[in-house]
């Protein structure tokens, strides 16, 4: 198992996530694309951590923080999505266009 292949996987997942964020119109799916991007970052961090192998596991700690933050962000994000949905019956980001997208 070589480092470059793991990192390549991370990069591909990241670009899939970017495509998801930019191409999807449903706000929930956009948020899921962001989750995919964050996971790609975690793959990178953990691979680098295993590669560098220094004492205090910086990469793994960072990944742990990212997971925590992702949970918090998803909580707030879905609350906002629900708020918009309850008012407008749509969560397609381009239909939410009182302000220009």
């Amino acid at each position: 198992m070589s480092l470059a292949w793991v990192l390549t996987l991370g990069a591909l997942l990241f670009s899939l996530g970017i495509y998801g964020v930019l191409a999807r119109r449903n706000a929930v799916l956009v948020l899921m694309g962001i989750e995919l991007m964050l996971n790609a970052v975690n793959v990178n961090l953990i691979a680098f951590d295993a590669w560098i192998r220094q004492g205090n596991a910086t990469g793994q700690i960072f990944a742990l923080f990212i997971i925590t933050v992702a949970a918090a962000e998803v909580g707030v994000g879905l609350a906002i999505v629900l708020l918009v949905f309850r008012r407008r019956e749509t969560i397609n980001v381009d239909e939410v266009n009182l302000l220009k997208w």
């Binding site: 990069a11 990241f14 899939l16 449903n26 799916l29 997971i67 998803v74 707030v76």
Partner: protein, 186 residues
């Protein structure tokens, strides 16, 4: 064995990621993402991050994805994305952006690391277990750890503020034209 597992899981992760961004139905997308998270958890085990593999499954695949599914259900399962494109060339442009960045990153990675292999037993690095992470978390990263507590307070308050209606103080028949629509929820 490890090698085959890597390839199987890499293909699984990529296909499920692809499925997630392509599926028309939101529930399918969410389930694809769960598969993706499980595949990544296997990776973490291969890379020696056992604790994170557990966290990945418990927090990500468990809690976060359930939250997603819950919200999707609340909004109606049959809801599918319309196939038309109100923003012209949205998908091709997204493909271009994702593809260009991905290609660039892969190029950088391939040229920087080439065929560098992990040392034997990448998994046995001393920090790859809960003990090592715990010690680092409460010594070297004590302060960031405490900052996450503030972050979680903010998130909790934020969800309450956004989600809860407060009848006594909130604009009943709003004075502002922009906020004139009554009723906030079902």
């Amino acid at each position: 064995m490890e090698k085959y597992l890597f390839w199987v899981m890499a293909v699984t992760a990529l296909l499920s990621g692809l499925g997630m961004v392509m599926a028309r139905n939101a529930v399918h997308s969410a389930l694809m993402l769960v598969v993706n998270f499980f595949a990544l958890a296997v990776f973490y085990v291969l890379l020696g991050a056992h604790f994170l593999a557990a966290v990945q499954i418990i927090v990500y695949a468990g809690a976060i994805m359930v939250l997603f599914l819950f919200v999707i259900m609340l909004m109606g399962v049959q809801r599918e994305e319309p196939a038309d494109e109100p923003i012209r060339f949205q998908r091709p442009l997204a493909l271009l952006a994702g593809g260009a960045l991905g290609g660039l990153l892969v190029f950088v990675i391939r040229t920087s690391f080439g065929l560098a292999r992990f040392a034997e037993q990448a998994g046995s690095s001393s920090a790859g277990n809960a003990q090592g992470i715990g010690r680092a978390l409460f010594t070297s990263y004590l302060f960031p750890f405490e900052v996450t507590s503030i972050l979680l307070i903010v998130a909790a308050i934020g969800v309450v503020v956004i989600g809860r209606r407060e009848p006594e103080s909130e604009e009943p028949a709003a004075p502002a034209p922009a906020s004139s629509e009554p009723g906030g929820g079902p």
